[in-house]
Amino acid sequence: MLYLYDGALNVSKILKDWYDEEANSNYGAYIPFVGTVRSEDGISGLSFDIYEPILERWFEAWQEKARAKGAIIKMAHSRGDVMLHESSYIAAVFSPKRRVALEFIDEFVEDFKASAPIWKYDLKDGQRIYASDRSTAIKGSGILGVKK
C-alpha cells in the first residue's frame, strides 16, 4: 500500500480509489494528508529522489504499528518533478475509531518528514537545487564522520 508515481499525483483519483478499496472494511475514520507544492522563493516546482528499498522497510514498520491498533496506512509519493500547485504526497490512515486515526496521521507524517529516504530539490531558474535548509538528518546520522 505504498505507491510511487513519476511526476504529480492524481489526488482525486487516489483519494477515491483508496476510499473505494476500503468501502466494506468497516473502518469508521479515513484521514488522508495531501501535500501540495507551494509557490515560494521563486521556485517553479520541486523534484524528488527516492531510495525505495529503505522507504519500503520504513513503511512496512509503520504498517505493522498501525495493524497492531486495527488500522492501516496507505501512502503515495512522486518521483521526479512536481510543479507549483501540484501534489507530491498523500498519506492516509483508516481505523475503526477516530482517535487512533487522528494520532497516527500526525505521528506518521512527522516521522515521514524526519526519516523517509526521499530528497527534495527546488526547481529554480532551470536548475535542480538540493533543499538542504529544509532537510533533516536521519536519526543516527554522522557515525562515519566521527574522527578517531
Binding site: 509519493h77 518528514k113 524526519a114 529516504p117 530528497w119 536521519i138 543516527g140 557515525i143 564522520g145 574522527k147
Partner: protein, 73 residues
Amino acid sequence: MVRVEFLGPIQKESLEIEITNLEQLADILQQDKEIAEWLENSAVAVNDMLVNSLDVALKDGDKVSLLPPVCGG
C-alpha cells in the same frame, strides 16, 4: 568487495572497495574531500538496513549506503 553507494544529492559515483568493517570505511571516506562534508549528517545503511554504530562487520558482496538529510512530502 563491498559496494558503497551515495544517495540523493551526494554527487559521487559508487565505490567498490576491499574493507571488512565500517571503521575502515570511515577512515577512507574522511580522506575524500568530495564527500567529507556529507559524513557528519548522513545516515548509514548496510544491505538496506540503517545502522547506528560503526561496530558492524562487512563481507564480500555487502552494500553500504550513505543517506544525506531527507525531506519528503
